[in-house]
């Protein structure tokens, strides 16, 4: 049964023309994508939950690239962002030897890592000096450009 409100809205949106077989494949691929990444992330999420609960990080349970990416989505709970990010950062540092600098995925996640470092008070130019962050871009970011507090030319 379609209610009046839905009927009115459907009139505006118009009928969708799609073949059933195409819809099955399209929706199937979409759901496979969502659930595939969720399943891939479960070990990482479990590990992060463990860290948040005070357990020692199990560094070998997930590829570092996944860990770095997941680290960027730690919820910004009011007043606790620093403490939570600190734990994740410690964990990332503990797994630093596994970071493959050449991986395009790791390079793609650099901004996420950098923002995490900034949140932990280790951002900016200093962060790039740390050995494990050699993957960060050598070219100065806009924030380091002249007129922004540094003397780079």
């Amino acid at each position: 049964m379609i209610g009046r409100g839905e009927r009115m809205a459907m009139e505006e949106i118009g009928l969708t023309e799609i073949r059933k077989a195409h819809a099955v494949v399209f929706v199937g691929l979409f759901l496979a994508f969502l659930y595939g990444v969720l399943l891939w992330d479960i070990p990482v999420l479990r590990n992060l939950a463990g860290i948040a609960a005070g357990k020692a990080p199990a560094a070998a349970t997930a590829p570092p690239a996944t860990a770095i990416r997941t680290a960027s989505v730690i919820p910004a709970w009011s007043n606790s962002i620093f403490a939570e990010n600190r734990k994740v950062l410690d964990w990332i540092k503990a797994t630093e030897h596994q970071v493959d600098e050449r991986s395009p995925f790791v390079r793609a996640t650099q901004p996420a890592v950098q923002s995490l470092l900034v949140a932990c008070g280790e951002g900016g130019t200093d962060a790039r000096r740390q050995g494990w962050l050699a993957v960060l871009p050598a070219k100065p970011a806009f924030h380091d450009a002249p007129g922004r507090g540094t003397n780079q030319t």
């Binding site: 049964m1 009046r4 809205a9 994508f33 969502l34 969720l38 960027s72 923002s115």
Partner: protein, 482 residues
């Protein structure tokens, strides 16, 4: 939680879809409400209390209004007679609903702003102690402007006899908190979704359309709005700008705000369709407008129609003479500007739009000359783009300085901003944004016929958008702060 975040896309959304379709129909509204509250409380759980309070007040106000009619004291509720007499109790319930919502909105959004200017006024009058006043530093709860307007629309629609009152508190809580549209709209009025809360269909075609909308939304946000945003942020944060950089920054922000907000709206409509809801259209290619009046029929349609139906028409609309119509237009747009936030920039933006609308009407009334059709769209676009400057600038002095830098010969010929923004990626994104804004197919029409090639494009957009997303640490939508 932000739609364009990893946690939403790959944890929250799969869990919602799985449990929603596994749940019997009777429990789906409860489930959606629970997930929506979790979604809302993710940033700060205390905000949930506020939304629950607002929901409870409006639900009971609606019930009091409904029960003012003798037919509604039995089992089922009926819609009140439109234009029929209302008792004092019903009026009081409506006033209570509106007062509580507006008070809440006023306190959280405008208290610090008002207190600061009061203190400044006292200091100017010679009471220097006023400058030492400590403000409360009220934190703005996410989406409060959107859900208070939605909540108010319920009590007003029930009072006017435009919608049937709800018996179930949970259904009402679901309407207010529905996560796809909770934080940044579209502002769904109660009468538009009232029946869908009780009866809605779930079909494969509808779900496919939802995925299509969602993919388009994420593409708009991540692939168009964010690169344009990088250019605009660089320009607006810079102290010195060349003329070319200023114009580039202005147009970049013009496209950023459109693709950011319409991208969010597409994602919201898409998520709604996946869950069986059909929301209203929020954007209709606004930059192709031929006049500002036309623009406001295409931009943030849910807000402009809300303001029209609940503010402009009750103020008298255009029924009380030409002069009153102009005043009403300016007042409504001023309030619309202020709705966006407590800042003089928004007041100026709203006031300028209101004045322009009034002048446009005045012109049409007294002057037969019309600009050539080919010029109307570029002129409107140019005016709208320039008015985004006070909207985007951090404060008034910045806006004034930015306007100054638009004149030729102002600022350095070669600036660092150019070096930072003239990368092929950003420039191609900006050009693409312009082409799509002016010539692209509107999302609502694009998703009507989903042929295989379109499905391929949409899946590619989803995949590419998600990969780009993972390289960006935080992707808030512009309208989250309103």
């Amino acid at each position: 939680m932000v739609f364009s975040s990893h946690i939403f896309l790959f944890v929250f959304l799969p869990l919602v879809l799985l449990t929603y379709y596994a749940c019997p129909r009777g429990g789906r509204s409860v489930l959606l409400t629970a997930f929506s509250y979790a979604f809302y409380g993710w940033a700060n759980p205390l905000f949930v209390v506020l939304m629950l309070t607002s929901t409870a007040i409006d639900f009971f106000a609606g019930r009091a209004i409904a029960r003012g009619d003798a037919r509604n004291r039995g089992g089922e509720y009926f819609t009140l007679v439109e234009g029929g007499p209302r008792s004092r109790g019903q009026l009081l319930a409506l006033v209570a609903s509106m007062t509580s919502n507006l008070t809440m909105l006023g306190f959280f959004k405008y208290f610090d702003f008002g207190a600061e200017y009061f203190a400044r006024a006292f200091v100017a009058l010679g009471w220097t102690g006023a400058g030492q006043v400590h403000f409360l530093h009220v934190v703005l709860p996410l989406g409060i402007s959107f859900y208070t307007f939605q909540s108010m629309s319920y009590a007003i629609d029930v009072y006017r006899g435009h919608a049937k009152p709800l018996r179930s508190f949970l259904d009402f809580a679901c309407f207010i908190s529905l996560f796809p549209q909770l934080v940044a709209g579209p502002i769904n009025r109660y009468q538009d979704v009232a029946d869908q809360l009780l009866y809605r269909t779930h079909t494969l075609a509808k779900f496919s359309r939802g995925v299509a909308f969602f993919a388009l939304g994420i593409g708009k946000k991540v692939l168009l709005a964010n690169p344009c945003g990088r250019i605009a942020d660089t320009a607006f944060d810079s102290a010195t700008l060349s003329t070319l950089d200023s114009w580039t920054g202005t147009f970049a922000y013009t496209f950023q705000i459109y693709f950011d907000f319409s991208g969010y709206s597409d994602m919201a409509v898409g998520l709604g369709l996946m869950l069986g809801f059909v929301f209203i259209k929020n954007f209709d290619s606004p930059y192709r407008s031929m006049s500002l009046t036309d623009f406001w029929q295409r931009w943030h349609i849910s807000l402009s129609t809300w303001l029209r139906d609940y503010l402009y028409i009750p103020l008298g609309g255009n029924r009380k003479g030409a002069g009153r119509t102009y005043v009403n237009l300016i007042v409504v747009m001023l309030l619309g500007g202020l709705w966006h936030g407590a800042s003089w920039n928004f007041v100026i933006w709203g006031g300028a739009h209101g004045t322009w609308l009034a002048l446009e009407r005045l012109w049409k009334r007294h002057c037969a000359y019309r600009p050539p059709t080919w010029l109307q769209c570029p002129l409107t676009f140019l005016g709208v783009s320039l008015l985004w400057i006070p909207f985007r600038a951090a404060d008034l002095p910045t806006a004034v300085r930015y306007f100054g830098s638009l004149w030729p010969g102002h600022g350095p010929d070669l600036s660092l901003v150019s070096a930072a923004t003239r990368t092929p990626y950003l420039m191609i994104s900006l050009a693409l944004a312009g082409v799509i804004a002016f010539f692209g197919i509107q999302s609502w029409y694009f998703t009507r016929r989903l042929q295989p090639w379109k499905l391929g494009v949409l899946l590619a957009l989803l995949l590419f958008g998600t990969i780009t997303l993972s390289s960006q640490s935080y992707n808030p939508f512009i309208y989250f702060i309103f």
